[in-house]
């Protein structure tokens, strides 16, 4: 879906990104934060993972399930209240939640009452994770990685403001690397796969053991056939290591997960983040064909397969055709940089919200206009501060104050002067 806003936002936004406590959408959330900042928006983050140890401690209690349920409910209420408090002090134009963000329905209703725009990027398969039915209507905008029938389903539960927002890559992170010889040896192979051991993958990869095949990631235990291919003892692979694996492998396998082991190539609709990340790295991938894949990539920008025999044939072919691998990977990278970064996604989301929410965001006076009559020395130092905080020239003075409040530790003279000025106005009036 192409979104054409009637009135695109004319000023940088203040966005509060609410991360999940844990899980796959956590990294997506962090990429969103970077992307929003790169677009010139003022971003604050609710670091829900910092609360995760408390949640784990509750789970480790030896108490009845009824008591545990009450405790977990109380815990989530506290976290939600913390998010609300953050909203009260940061006054964002938009609260952006990632899937599984711990924002409860009561808080979402309060935010709606307060007029704060909310959006969720539901980076999950709606057929498997069905909890969206409960809370999707409580968000003002709902971004999804699948199309119909999900749009129709959302309409049925009372969420008409849904936008298709496929996953993406962060080109500052997912990029070609010059690897050391040690890294090449550690992370390199003819064939690799990085990801969790879903049933379809376990079945499929047993057919690949004759290759120089390295398997990376978790949940592969209990499979003696694949055991000798599993790297680093099956521990969790960091995002930095992922990028090294992508760069070091001749062929990166990208088989979308499925809980079914009967159909190894599931032919689902949405495209996983690995597809974009591999392409952004300029790495060659063999990816299973997905319903929505060719809406985003041409057939010469990715190498695909539609069955296990097709996969085996293409592995053999591409292992011996390095030039073709390089060309396809290069085209894939160009496509991602042009259309499929998180910055593109965030811009699409913002434009969508603006198109559905007349008058959003509330206009604010530019800092430059506010400072017009300031004493020269103060003005010069404030302009330098805007630059140092990487704030665009269109930012409002209120945003500058909010950016200074996000600093921690000792403030500089000019940062202190900004807060002093703000407090002076609160105490003595608007002059």
């Amino acid at each position: 879906m192409t979104v054409t806003p009637e009135t695109p936002p004319t000023r940088p936004l203040r966005v509060l990104v609410v991360l999940p406590l844990y899980g796959g959408s956590l990294s997506v959330g962090r990429y969103c934060v970077r992307a929003l900042r790169s677009l010139g928006h003022l971003v604050d983050v609710f670091e829900a993972p910092a609360f995760h140890p408390a949640f784990t401690a509750l789970k480790d209690l030896s108490v009845s399930s009824q008591n545990l349920g009450q405790l977990e409910n109380g815990f989530l209420q506290v976290v939600s209240q913390a998010i609300y408090a953050k909203v009260e002090s940061f006054e964002p134009d938009l609260v952006l939640s990632l899937a599984q963000a711990p924002l409860d329905s009561q808080t979402l209703r309060r935010l709606r009452k307060d007029g704060v725009a909310t959006a969720m990027w539901f980076v999950e398969d709606f057929r498997i994770f069905t909890y969206w039915k409960g809370f999707a209507p409580l968000y003002d905008a709902f971004a999804i990685i699948q199309e119909d029938p999900f749009f129709e389903e959302l309409e049925k539960v009372g969420q008409p403001n849904a936008v298709y927002l496929p996953l993406a890559a962060d080109p500052d992170f997912h990029k070609p690397l010059e690897l050391s010889s040690v890294d090449c040896r550690t992370f390199g192979s003819d064939l690799s796969f990085m990801g969790a051991g879903y049933p379809n993958r376990r079945q499929a990869f047993r057919q690949l053991i004759r290759y120089d095949f390295k398997l990376w990631g978790t949940e592969w235990d209990g499979d003696p056939t694949l055991e000798r291919h599993l790297q680093l003892g099956g521990r969790r692979i960091t995002s930095e290591e992922c990028v090294k694996i992508f760069n070091a492998s001749r062929i990166n396998l990208n088989l979308h997960s499925s809980v079914q082991s009967e159909q190894l190539v599931s032919r689902g609709d949405f495209v996983n983040p690995r597809t974009f990340e591999l392409a952004a790295c300029g790495a060659f991938q063999l990816v299973d064909e997905r319903g929505l894949l060719f809406d985003m990539f041409h057939s010469d920008e990715l190498a695909t397969f539609d069955s296990m025999p097709d996969l085996m044939e293409k592995i053999d072919y591409y292992l011996t055709h390095s030039e073709e691998r390089t060309q396809i990977a290069q085209r894939g990278r160009e496509k991602v940089l042009a259309e499929h970064t998180y910055a593109h996604r965030m811009q699409t989301l913002i434009d969508f919200i603006a198109s559905r929410r007349p008058g959003w965001p509330t206009p604010r006076r530019k800092a430059a206009d506010t400072m017009k009559d300031f004493p020269q020395d103060l003005k010069e130092q404030l302009i330098a501060l805007l630059d140092r905080l990487n704030l665009p020239s269109t930012v409002s003075f209120e945003d500058l104050i909010a950016a200074v409040r996000r600093q921690s530790g000792k403030l500089s003279d000019i940062e202190t002067a900004v807060l002093f000025l703000d407090e002076w106005k609160k105490q003595y009036g608007g002059k």
Partner: protein, 429 residues
């Protein structure tokens, strides 16, 4: 070899005249430490006075009061060089005294870990446990008062003893000073009442001179008072209202026999100089919070059930608490006539000390809240490690202590309790 550089401590006091004077116990504590270089940040209008009353202290003048300042940006611009100086001074500790956004903003110049009191953390105001407790006891103002001088003094881990703050008040032979009005007119007596009381005190202590004190804004009031003073008193009255700068005011106060005043900065300055104060506390003025500090002062405190009220709220009772100050019995008493009865709705108190700080003991009239007030002080004092005596009070403890005080690591207690207690015991002796 150069001497070991002194440690620098900074006190930020951006409020007004009275507040600057009530910072005395904290300032006296810091100034008594030979290893400290003491700095004080005040509003520009207070800088001269600060240097006079706290000699040897490095005073930093900030623009924090709006009068005479055009815009917020001009204030911020004026402060930029001062901010730079303060930031570069590498303070070991900063005492930030006022619960105000401006103070909190200034504290942003320093590592929050060194700021005692109100500080900036993660862009927002945070305060210590001591300051939090004070917020709690303001819910029980009628009996839970702690003098502001002691409250701020106890920002320091080992404050000087209460008796070491101000000299014992004693007559100096230079007559009676009369302060015409406080900042809040509702706290001040009418010209007719004040002139009657001034005449009575002058007669009672057989003073040979009366001096009227106040700001330029009160010059009209001075003329009014002069016009109603008995002619014998008027003949020995000098009108210095609006004619004194800070140093002139100190000169006028020094050596007086007594100062008659509502709750004012001048009252605290007189106490600082050891001049006996006769203070009139009515309306929102509450001596247990802001009474004259030191031994030998007298306070006439309204005892109405609605006191202390809020300055910001209009009085629904036509300021009835002012009426007892016009009673003939009070005039009789002040003029030295032993035959009198304390007017209803008024308490006569004299200042003294307990281990926690200054107290006001009722000598005329009955203070029904005295036992509760004592309980409060025992609770707070024992929490600070002071030998206060008394039985523990569970209900009061539930009101003033909260579970997060001890369950969560958030408070700052005096670091050397032993030293603190030793000082207090010495003071008691």
């Amino acid at each position: 070899m150069p001497d070991t550089p002194a440690q620098r401590h900074l006190v930020i006091q951006l409020a007004r005249f009275g507040d600057l004077m009530q910072t005395k116990r904290l300032m006296a504590t810091l100034m008594a430490d030979p290893g400290l270089e003491v700095h004080l940040a005040v509003d520009r209008s207070m800088a001269e006075l600060a240097a006079l009353v706290y000699p040897g202290v490095v005073v930093h003048a900030l623009t924090a009061h709006a009068s005479g300042v055009g815009t917020a940006a001009q204030a911020a611009a004026a402060n930029l060089p001062v901010f730079a100086t303060l930031r570069d001074l590498d303070f070991e500790r900063v005492y930030n005294l006022n619960f105000s956004g401006l103070n909190v903003a200034v504290s942003g110049l320093f590592d929050p870990a060194i700021v005692v009191g109100y500080r900036l953390e993660h862009g927002h105001e945070r305060r210590g446990l001591w300051q939090d407790m004070a917020m709690r006891w303001t819910r029980y103002r009628r009996f839970a008062g702690l003098n502001l001088v002691d409250f701020w003094g106890l920002f320091a881990a080992q404050p000087v003893t209460p008796g070491a703050v101000n000299p014992i008040a004693q007559r100096g032979g230079k007559g009676v000073g009369v302060v015409l009005a406080g900042r809040e007119t509702r706290r001040s007596l009418s010209p007719g009442v004040l002139s009657t009381l001034a005449a009575a005190v002058t007669q009672g202590i057989r003073a040979e001179r009366v001096v009227l004190l106040g700001s330029k804004a009160e010059q009209g009031l001075a003329k009014e008072i002069l016009s109603v003073l008995p002619s014998a008193i008027r003949a020995k009255t000098v009108d210095r209202v609006g004619l004194t700068d800070w140093s002139g005011l100190i000169d006028e106060l020094t050596g007086l026999d007594a100062v008659l005043t509502p709750d004012t900065g001048t009252m605290h300055l007189a106490a600082h100089l050891g001049v006996p104060v006769h203070a009139f506390f009515l309306s929102s003025a509450w001596c247990w919070e802001t009474g004259p500090y030191g031994m030998g002062h007298r306070v006439w405190q309204t005892a109405e059930g609605c006191a202390p009220c809020l300055e910001s709220a209009p009085c629904p009772y036509a300021v009835k608490c002012a009426a007892p100050f016009a009673a003939r019995d009070l005039v009789r008493h002040l003029s030295g006539n032993a035959a009198f009865e304390i007017p209803e709705g008024l308490l006569g108190l004299v200042s003294g000390f307990d281990p926690l700080g200054v107290v006001y003991r009722p000598v005329l009239g009955e203070d029904p809240l005295a036992p509760r007030r004592l309980k409060f002080r025992q609770l707070i004092g024992s929490w600070l490690g002071l030998p206060m005596g008394g039985d523990p009070d569970h209900e009061l403890a539930c009101e003033l202590f909260e579970e997060q005080d001890w369950m969560l690591d958030r408070g700052v207690l005096p670091t050397d309790l032993f030293e603190f207690m030793k000082n207090s015991e010495r003071d008691q002796a």
